[in-house]
């Protein structure tokens, strides 16, 4: 218990989380503090490039481990399965229409790359080792949830209107995923020799970029929350309890398959995270009738801050208690 509290406090006092809270406060009180749109996109590119590359170099160092296939299997299962559970829960606790419930469920099955970045940074400072190939697992977990949601919604507009190509492009060729996986492969191929050329950029520079990026995320999340119109208490409870449930499911699967504690912790963080970039964009094509006021607000303004501040240390402590 003391350890868990210590972990929570360690997380809370990192510059990344403190700057996120600064951004959140500034956004909530309507400060004019802003990260220019172009700069925010550049910061996101640096983040994707850095974590992809670092993951690739670490994967090259460690070689292919059987844990990778297990982690990929757990990740895919969760991404397909979580939306089905989330949809069932939403139908019971809320009056959301079928399409909005399915779209919201997709967000919870898919993942947030920034939560992954913050989570892995936290694991590093806590001294919990995990496989560099988990970056590839992140990419695998982005899409299956969207397919589950389409089935739950009973098909979508994209099929009717011949927009499957656009949907595929938005999902599979989404810029963040292409850069993440591309940088992973570059890291894998160039290995330690490549790292010696890139270490300032993906090391110290990355830390600064992460902090600025999270400052912006705080601003964005607070503005979204203060403008929210369709949030009800059961929906807010869902956005906090669903990540807890998903992370426990993930830990159960990791335990059954004998995954290492580090990889199990990363998977628990990924399972708990909810997408707020790739899936919302895909939903505008796949299920345009679904209400972004519900799904984007829940994933970006409630689940993301919850995971960042409380969830990550909690899932890490739970992993340590169950598997460590």
């Amino acid at each position: 218990m003391v350890d868990s509290l210590q972990l929570a406090l360690t997380n809370l006092l990192t510059p990344a989380i403190l700057f996120f809270l600064l951004g959140f406060g500034a956004g909530w009180f309507k400060s004019d503090l802003a990260v220019p749109e172009g700069a925010a996109k550049t910061l996101a590119l640096v983040l994707m490039l850095s974590i992809g590359f670092k993951g690739g170099v670490e994967a090259a160092r460690a070689g292919l481990s059987p844990d990778f296939l297990k982690a990929a299997g757990v990740g895919l299962t969760l991404s397909f399965g979580i939306p089905i559970i989330a949809f069932g829960v939403l139908k019971v606790i809320s009056r959301l229409d079928r399409t909005t419930a399915a779209a919201t469920a997709a967000h919870y099955g898919s993942v947030s790359i920034v939560t992954f970045v913050a989570g892995t940074e936290f694991l590093r400072i806590s001294g919990v080792p995990f496989g560099g190939y988990m970056v590839a697992v992140v990419a695998l977990m982005e899409t299956p949830a969207i397919l589950s949601a389409l089935i739950l919604a009973g098909g979508g507009a994209a099929g009717r209107q011949g927009l499957r190509g656009e949907l595929f492009r938005e999902v599979a060729l989404n810029g963040s995923v292409v850069l993440l996986i591309g940088a992973f492969i570059v890291g894998l191929l160039s290995g330690d020799a490549g790292m010696s050329k890139m270490e300032v950029f993906v090391g110290p520079v990355f830390q600064g970029v992460l902090v600025l990026f999270l400052l912006d995320m705080g601003l964005v999340a607070a503005r979204r929350l203060s403008a929210a119109r369709s949030l009800t208490l059961p929906l807010i409870a869902f956005a906090i309890c669903m990540p807890l449930l998903s992370s426990m499911l993930s830990l159960g699967l990791s335990l059954a398959l004998g995954l290492s504690p580090g990889n199990a912790a990363v998977l628990a963080i990924l399972a708990a995270s909810a997408s707020y970039i790739a899936v919302p964009a895909a939903m505008r094509i796949a299920l345009p009738d679904a209400d972004p006021g519900v799904y984007l607000t829940l994933s970006l303004a409630v689940t993301f801050p919850f995971n960042l501040v409380f969830g990550i240390p909690l899932y890490t402590a739970a992993t340590a208690a169950l598997i460590g």
Binding site: E166, R223, A227, R229, R284
Partner: protein
């Protein structure tokens, strides 16, 4: 100066479906169009400004000048599309220079 009567089409769509709508225009025989970004607005889903975080909901304005016959073909195709997707279509009568280009 010689002016010709044409139709002006103004179509607002969300960015992810822009390419699809451009395909409709090409198929209907529209010879040229211009796409503009949007800065701010308000509608069914509330008020928004450029810089707000709204993945997939960024708006694009397509501007095209066409003959009445082409405008009818575009509208017939868009009516079906906008049964599923959000958007705005406005048609107005205009006079243009160099009418042979449209």
């Amino acid at each position: 100066m010689q002016l010709s009567k044409r139709k002006k089409l103004e179509i607002i769509v969300e960015a992810p479906v822009l390419r699809r709508v451009e395909t409709f225009l090409a198929e209907a025989g529209v010879r040229g169009w211009t796409v503009l970004p949007s800065l701010a607005g308000a509608g069914d889903s509330g008020e928004w400004r450029s810089g707000d975080f709204t993945p997939g909901q960024e708006k694009r304005l397509i501007f095209a000048l066409v003959t009445t016959e082409v405008a009818d073909r575009v509208l017939a195709r868009l009516a079906d599309f906008f049964a599923d997707y959000p958007g705005v279509v406005a048609v107005s009568d205009v006079e243009v220079m160099r009418g042979e280009k449209f």
